[in-house]
Symmetry: C2
Subunit: 177 residues, 2 copies
């Protein structure tokens, strides 16, 4: 099962025109809860993200944020920097082959993160659920969460919350067949 | 006050790649209520839409759907087809000038409709509230609800409903200054 858990702007961007996510701090978040992130992560076996997202996380001035293995999609990266060697592992090849290998190792519930990676998975209709928190801001441009698709994909809204009565979060699951 | 009331796909499109809105019928809607449309319309004094949207509505094989005057933005249209002469009125010029004229005539609360028109109003930061119903489908391309903007715009989510527990609808109001 491949899942997305992400915040995006009202106009569907996950990073602004400068590639920054600083605008996420333009609203105040609830102090006492994590907006479902902990529950979501506890259901996941591992993360899958692109090289660029991985390098962004490596650059954060905080402790390594994940307690699950992170698989970094890259066809050129041979190893991750030594300090992250216990946390992250490069993987290469076609997405379905990578998934087959991860499933065999017991990593079945995967948190798919990063704009390009999410779009690649969606292109192959490999996303099963998406939890999307909408930040009520129009950025007017940037990195879109969704890209072009050859075929439409039906989802179902299975959960809906509004944190502090002003931050909507929806959970959608893919409706196939 | 300029308001938007619209349905869009999960990936932010209001028409598919063929310009069609047929995909709106890919989900089942609540039978007993109008998803807030009646309440919304009762607050409005008139509609403002582009020529293309107007022509689309004219082509619908149903009775004229609006009981409020419709102002059709067009710099080339001199009059509307005779059968709609009591319903719709062409207006031309810069958006702010048109608004000034409509306000003077007592049309203060305006329902702004049609993709291009909504985007033109947003470009000039003239939208005060947006009620957006999200249809849980990824279209993968088409006519986007939102376009590029020079400056970001903060909104506030002031109302949130989920019709039949599966069709989310959010109302956002512009937060200025």
């Amino acid at each position: 099962m491949n899942a997305v858990f992400i915040a995006c702007s009202l106009d569907g961007y996950i990073a602004d025109k400068n590639g920054s996510v600083g605008w996420l701090d333009s609203i105040e978040y609830p102090k006492d809860y994590d907006m479902g992130y902990g529950d979501f992560m506890s259901r996941m076996d591992a993360l899958v993200m692109g090289r660029k997202s991985f390098e962004t996380v490596c650059g954060f001035d905080v402790e390594w944020p994940y307690d699950k293995p992170v698989f970094v999609l890259s066809n050129t990266m041979v190893s991750v920097p030594e300090e992250f060697a216990d946390e992250a592992y490069p993987v290469k090849g076609a997405i379905q082959d990578i998934l087959d290998r991860l499933h065999k190792k017991g990593f079945k519930n995967l948190y798919i993160d990063g704009g390009k990676t999410i779009q690649s998975f969606l292109k192959e209709d490999l996303i099963d659920e998406m939890t999307i928190t909408t930040i009520p801001i129009l950025l007017g441009g940037g990195m879109p969460l969704f890209g072009q698709l050859d075929k439409l994909q039906m989802f179902e809204c299975v959960n809906h919350k509004t944190y502090e009565d002003r931050i909507p979060q929806m959970k959608y699951v893919r409706k196939r067949g």
